[in-house]
Point group: C2
């Protein structure tokens, strides 16, 4: 098991450990079984993840309160957070939502799973359906797949000409910069699994009748395109790794690490907002006497 | 503290204990501090509620799987569940969502909070915005307030003429019957608190700066209309207490009981669906050899 010498007093942020350096990306350099920043192993993980819940809970409520309170016309924008989850089939986007995002009050979270676009969605620009699901002020949006599919599956299957998908990296960067300017923290996580681990997970679905519903024979066809997907991911991770909306590479062969890591990344990004409780917009003593 | 002689072997369902009898409703007859069906007290409640999570999790996933699998053209409709939460201000609709609904995988849950209708919504029939948020097959919808506001606040404040709101009970019954026929289990919970408890909860918000954002001076004005709201609730609970979509009265002065009770009601309603895992729609051995 990969171990890091980090101890509890180490001020290193997980975000710093997992943020992809800018420049060309070679995914072969990253061990999908690594566990950067986690002290201990599988046995410690559930408790470590659960231990994040109270702070996540507090910060999510502050965020939600900020959304309710709003700000003046000239004030700063009300913050929101958008978590973008990408990764090969079985990399665990759903597992992350269940186990990490599930720690947060569901009232403040909006989850969007982007499947193949509908006929109506296809009549619009690729960002149209995405923009409709960006988080409202004070809320946390979760994208299970995202606009990145439009430079991943679309590229691998040549669903649009290269001239079209190759222009999208710039469009995505502009879109994400626009979100950031409007107060949205964009947390992008690439869940990094190995082809071997994917095979094991697909086989496990065939071994358990309660998992048949998750199995799609088409996933095996996609699996044959693994090298093409890897190249498409490397390009997307390189070309859309902006300072305002950087990519984080989350090693995902170990489910327990993956869930802890995304929860910890979310926590760090919420902490960075330095959220305060909104002040009263009424007179406390007047209200107290009205009630008594 | 109210205790019931129920023990673990008692086959009584909480749904039976909390379901409102049909006929005229006198809310004064129900103790908001009662804890029907719960063995023990506040100390036991968090563990008892958490203990429901694994079964809720399993059943929610079966429901979700059924939604993915769908059914044939002539088959039965794919099930879904709609939880309707109603109650006076501070009765704890948000708390229930956080602590009871929060036990369930958020991917299978859609929460809708109905505020005062927007100008666009007002141009439509009162059920228009409600229908847009009914749960998709295989999912659980949560209504934090609902179409019942159209016979509650609307009636108390005379926002439409009596001839209009008085016709809505029938329209609501027809709508809920339509949902049931389409495969939606409608679980309606009235969170029953006392006026004293409401005062305590509003005062608590004034005592804690981290709760100021939840305090709305307008709530005190509404509080003065308590008897009118009570009458409006009694009528709604009586007139819309159908066999297909009955009301449940959840005593809500004790938050720990309220949260446990709604989680337990949801669990019982999921159990009643007798959900099976969908069979494989592919040949398991063929797929295994394709992977190996």
């Amino acid at each position: 098991m990969a171990k890091t010498p980090k101890n509890a007093a180490d001020p290193t942020r997980l975000s710093d450990l997992l943020r992809l350096p800018q420049g060309p990306v070679d995914l072969g350099r990253y061990d999908p079984r690594a566990t950067p920043g986690f002290v201990g192993g599988k046995k410690q993980a559930p408790a470590a993840t659960a231990a994040l819940a109270p702070r996540l809970d507090d910060l999510q409520e502050r965020l939600f309160a900020a959304g309710r309170a709003g700000t003046g016309v000239d004030g700063p924008p009300v913050p929101s957070v958008l978590v973008v989850l990408q990764g090969m089939d079985t990399s665990g986007k759903g597992g992350v939502i269940r186990h990490a995002i599930g720690l947060v009050d569901p009232q403040g979270v909006q989850i969007s799973a982007f499947k193949a676009p509908t006929r109506a969605e296809k009549r619009h620009d690729f960002l149209w359906r995405i923009r409709r699901r960006t988080p409202a002020p004070g809320t946390i949006g979760i994208f299970d797949r995202s606009h990145y599919e439009d430079v991943l599956i679309v590229r691998v299957h040549e669903l649009v000409p290269e001239s079209e998908w190759s222009a999208r990296y710039e469009q995505i960067n502009a879109f994400e910069a626009e979100l950031a300017a409007a107060g949205t923290t964009v947390l992008k996580c690439y869940l990094h699994i190995s082809a071997d681990e994917q095979r094991q997970r697909l086989l496990a679905r065939l071994d358990d009748p309660s998992k048949y519903w998750k199995y799609n024979p088409g996933d095996v066809d996609e699996r044959a395109l693994w090298p093409s997907y890897l190249r498409a991911y490397e390009d997307a991770l390189e070309q859309c790794n902006t300072t305002g909306a950087p990519w984080h590479l989350v090693p995902a062969d170990r489910k327990w690490y993956r869930n802890w890591a995304v929860a910890a990344l979310l926590l760090e990004h919420l902490e960075a907002l330095h959220l305060q409780w909104p002040p009263a917009d009424f007179d406390v003593e007047t209200e107290r006497s009205r009630l008594l």
